[in-house]
């Protein structure tokens, strides 16, 4: 399959390449982008380790990928995103140190959206798309391998991974808007019928 086929209308897509810089500040929630270059996988345990021991790579313009991949030898077998919300309270220090994008699934909290303001973005990748992701990845290295396969920090080279801007640098959050609308629709449909006052 040719690259770029994963995202439908290819023309509207902006191509990002690491290290990221001010260009991420122009992105708007709902924009579709592709990402190429280096990403660092990190889940719960890797965040805790980095808070304790420091960041083992240059965080300036870097991208964190919330992912616990299946690695076999030097090959990425399956590497879809994990639920980003687990890292809600663990991401602030990365953004402060210059990380420009967090990639994962399902969205993040208002706290993270505030931390990203004027600094960076949250990019959503389609959950479950482990084979598609792996087909666009090359393994470059690893930190904290003692944490185990799922929790180690893997250094991965991406080739145009198709993503959506979930939270932009102005604090707009597509997941928050969708949830608000869902709540309103639920209330409208299922609220008990209003009693007519006597």
């Amino acid at each position: 399959m040719p690259p770029g086929n994963g995202g439908g209308a290819v023309l509207s897509i902006m191509d990002l390449c690491t290290p990221l810089s001010h260009e991420v500040l122009m992105l708007r929630a709902g924009d579709r982008v592709t990402l190429s270059g280096t990403v660092y996988t990190a889940r719960d345990e890797a965040h805790l380790r980095m808070i304790e021991e420091g960041i083992p790579f240059d965080p300036h313009g870097a991208v964190i990928y919330h992912c616990g991949p299946v690695i076999q030898g030097q090959r990425v077998i399956a590497a879809g995103p994990t639920t980003s919300a687990r890292m809600n309270s663990l991401s602030g220090f990365l953004i402060e140190r210059g990380v420009r994008a967090l990639v994962g699934k399902g969205g993040m909290s208002r706290q993270v959206a505030d931390q990203l303001k004027g600094r960076g973005v949250y990019l959503a990748f389609t959950g479950g798309c482990a084979a598609l992701a792996a087909s666009r990845m090359t393994l470059k290295g690893v930190f904290f391998e003692d944490l185990g396969m799922a929790e180690a920090v893997w250094v991965i080279e991406l080739d145009r991974l198709p993503l959506v801007v979930g939270i932009d640098a102005a604090g707009n959050d597509i997941f928050e808007g969708v949830h608000r609308n869902a709540q309103a629709e639920f209330r409208k449909r299922f609220s008990p019928k209003k009693e007519t006052p006597a």
Partner: protein, 278 residues
């Protein structure tokens, strides 16, 4: 005395279990693939279409590379039918567990099964009560596997409703998705178990996920419409398809009870059946 099953039959059961996992993990059933394609055609939002296009591209890639669709290859749930002439004993259960171990090594699957309190990984996707095996009598010996990922399973719910509240079942199902949002990797399939007992309703909800999703009853369509009206959409980015289908299974229950369970299944609605000749 119950005769021991033929060792050749046990070996065939192990191979069939492994083969059923290989099919389920790499290729989605045709009805599920078609439902995702139809959803992509019906979405009007560019972002929602993009998510579904990624899912369809991923399905092609998994088949082309013979790798699992998703890195969460699930925990093993197995439905077995046994013909009258084959005795059911521990040998059969052990043969199925061996099939799970083979599948974990050969496909490969991510070892997901841990002790619930120690959180120690058994390394081979078997363990206390794992795989889950449900047995029914049948004409033929068939092994159906349903690998169940955690993201969707974690958003499942059960309620002991009042018999007078049966009109509120669609509300309970829609509320389950309102709480879940994008977390269970929508568009989902919702298995709904109504009636039976507390545990029985949950078992029914999971069994409902084995049903083909290209047909629905008017009641199932009514619940589906309520869920899709929420607009959560593919992966929670907003859109018309929050659920691909709702499947309901019912059982008789106590006159004072109304158990209702919703088993949430991500878009990777994996299931496969392999028959063992005997």
């Amino acid at each position: 005395m119950i005769p021991s099953p033929d060792p050749a039959l046990l070996a065939a059961i192990t191979r069939a279990t492994c083969e059923a996992f290989r099919q389920a993990e790499i290729t989605l059933p045709p009805d599920v693939k078609q439902a995702i394609r139809t959803a992509e055609e019906h979405e009007t939002s560019e972002v929602a279409r993009g998510e579904l296009a990624n899912i369809l591209a991923n399905l092609e890639m998994a088949e082309a590379l013979s790798v699992p669709i998703c890195q969460d290859t699930g925990v093993p749930v197995i439905y077995l039918t046994m013909p009258p002439h084959v005795p059911l004993n521990n040998g059969i259960y052990e043969a199925i567990a061996e099939g799970v171990r083979s599948a974990t090594r050969e496909i490969p699957l991510r070892p997901n099964v841990v002790g619930p309190l120690t959180r120690e990984n058994t390394g081979d996707n078997t363990g206390e009560g794992m795989p889950v095996v449900h047995v029914r009598p049948g004409d033929r010996l068939t092994i159906t596997v349903l690998p169940k990922g955690a993201g969707a399973e974690n958003m499942s719910r059960i309620a002991m409703m009042l018999p007078s509240e049966r009109g509120l079942i669609p509300k309970f199902v829609a509320e389950t998705m309102l709480i879940a949002g994008g977390k269970p990797c929508p568009p989902v399939v919702l298995g709904v178990g109504i009636g039976g007992t507390f545990d029985g309703a949950a078992a029914l909800a999971k069994e409902a996920l084995l049903e083909p999703i290209d047909t629905m009853t008017p009641y199932e369509k009514e619940i589906l419409a309520a869920v899709n009206a929420l607009g959560i959409g593919p992966m929670g980015v907003g859109g018309r398809t929050t659920a691909l289908a709702v499947k309901v299974k019912t059982a008789g229950c106590h006159t004072a009870s109304l158990p209702v369970a919703v088993n949430v299944q991500c878009w990777a609605c994996r299931r496969a059946t392999v028959e063992v000749p005997c």
